[in-house]
Amino acid sequence: MALDARAASRWLRLASWLAFGFLYLPVAVLVIFSFSASRYSMVWSGFTLQWYAALADNARVLSALMNSLIVAGGAMLISAVLGTAAALGLRRARFSGRGVLAALFYAPVVIPEIVLAIGLLMFFVLVMPVPLGLPSITLAHSVFGVAYVTIVVSARLEGFDAQLEEAAADLGATPWRVFLRVTLPLIWPGVLGGALLAFTLSFDDFVISYFVTGPGTATLPLVIYSMVKRGVTPEINALATLILLVSFAILALSIWLQGRNITAGEKV
């Protein structure tokens, strides 16, 4: 019986690490070959940074990068504010429609991206005229951004002692001052973590951007896509590596912030 369990756990560990290997194989390949001097990228022929240098001269890439930053920044701000408000409201509200309302905030995460993408495209063209380009992409990204921030901040609020807010109110603080002086100082890591997640998801988004963008506007993933459609090149490897690195760094920061303990605001 014990042998059975030990063998099983060994297989389990093997299977799991194979799965992790599977997940990170493309990362490794891209990173390695972004430094390879070979143009046809599959044979290692010396270390080089030329592909990275080429990116710095690529005006199209640079302008797309700027667009991505603008969009991600805008989507992040909208999502952080609205998502935090939603999380606070959902936690305290005790009315009957609450479950349905909560579902509204989690739904954008579950809906297939392409459905949301075409829906937004049609919405912006036919119903609420929004210029297709940076404005439409930013608004579109804020939809799933708000959902993710709501989820993250709600998780952070789980351990939050509601009596702290009651105490502040009792001592004369208006709801806004309760939020500024008590709630926010204690949940800000979660809020920032959620905001960074929204930033990353927006920065890396492809499907939704692809559908709601306008002529002439491209974000970084869109530029990568058109480069890829034309063929595999080492510049793409370099660009891919960079974008993965940056995203990973921001994401790691986000996760770390989400996990930070509220300084002793635990319920006893």
Binding site: M1, R13, A15, S16, A19, F22, L23, L25, P26, V27, V29, F33, M42, G83, A85, A86, G89, R91, R92, A93, R94, L104, F105, A107, V110, I111, E113, I114, V115, L116, I118, G119, M122, F123, V125, L126, V127, L139, A140, V143, V146, A147, T150, T200, D204, F206, V207, P221, I224, Y225, V228, V232, A240, I243, L244, S247, F248, L251, I255, G259
Partner: protein, 285 residues
């Protein structure tokens, strides 16, 4: 005086209004538009006459193949995700709490950073004279001919599994983590061998997670379009590509694209009802 009602509750509603309004407008709005347009006639881009023919066009024999392929590829991807994802989720759930967070985050990273770029990475690996090809040639397989994995259904399935694995692992992990592992020990103690414990204890108890994971992967995979586009080529067109074409290429047919989206939403809804029933049975048991 009698009382139980709560004043703070009513105050909180105020703060919910902006985000709820935002999502009602920008999320429910688009969903409503999809439903509406699916009933209209195609035009430039849409003729505002109620029609319904979009659904018929969707089921046209030409597209039926696409539909069928999408369904079968999505099913295969779901099964593989389950097979690959369950041990992974279980393994992570059994680690000490410190490692759990990190490992779980590592599973989500590929999805949350840049899936497009990573699928491109698979392209690099799978194409003729790509990394795998070179490796296999080097090891003596292949007999001198370039590998043809890219642009086959196999590549698409691989890409789908790669992209949507986190959608399976997340609910599975959530379900397994809530498990009381002493139940497994109790089963062992009563004489159950490894397989029996798996089939009779572990799987039934994590059924809600399994149901949710399968549902999510299936529906998302149905709507995939990057993976079949980059890894599948023209021969492996899926529903997502169909939608893309009807919206962004000629001939434009927004209603049909919307109808396809409605189909996916319907499947999602049905699937969620089914999954919650499965989860409910669990709770009742």
């Amino acid at each position: 005086m009698s009382g139980h009602g709560s004043k703070p509750g009513t105050r909180a509603v105020g703060v919910l209004v902006p985000p709820a309004a935002w999502l009602t407008l920008l999320f429910l709005g688009p969903l409503g538009v999809i439903a509406l347009i699916s009933l209209m006639m195609p035009g430039a881009p849409v003729e505002w006459t109620i029609d319904g023919s979009a659904y018929q066009r969707l089921l046209d024999p030409i597209y039926l193949g696409v539909l069928w392929r999408s369904l079968s590829l999505a099913v295969m991807a779901t099964v593989l995700c389950l097979v690959l994802g369950y041990p992974l989720a279980y393994y992570i759930a059994r680690r000490p709490p410190r490692f759990r967070r990190v490992l779980f985050f590592l599973v989500l990273v590929p999805l949350w950073t840049n899936s497009l770029v990573l699928i491109y990475g698979w392209m690099v690996m799978l194409r003729p004279n790509g990394a795998f090809d070179q490796l296999l040639q080097g090891l003596g397989f292949g007999g001198g001919e370039p590998l043809t994995i890219l642009y086959t259904p196999a590549a698409v399935i691989l890409g789908l599994v790669y992209w949507y694995l986190p959608f399976m692992v997340y609910p599975l992990y959530a379900s397994i983590e809530k498990l009381d592992f002493r139940l497994l020990e109790a089963a062992r103690d009563l004489g159950a061998g490894g397989l029996a414990v798996l089939v009779r204890v572990l799987l039934p108890l994590t059924l809600p997670g399994i149901a949710t994971g399968c549902l999510l992967v299936f529906v998302e995979a149905l709507g995939a379009f990057v993976v079949p586009d980059l890894l599948g080529g023209a021969k492996s067109m899926m529903l997502g590509n169909l939608v893309q074409q009807r919206f962004l290429s000629v001939p434009q047919d927004w209603p049909m694209g919307a109808a396809a989206a409605m189909l996916m939403l319907a499947l999602l809804l049905v699937g969620m009802l089914w999954a919650s029933r499965v989860g409910g049975l669990r709770r009742g048991a």
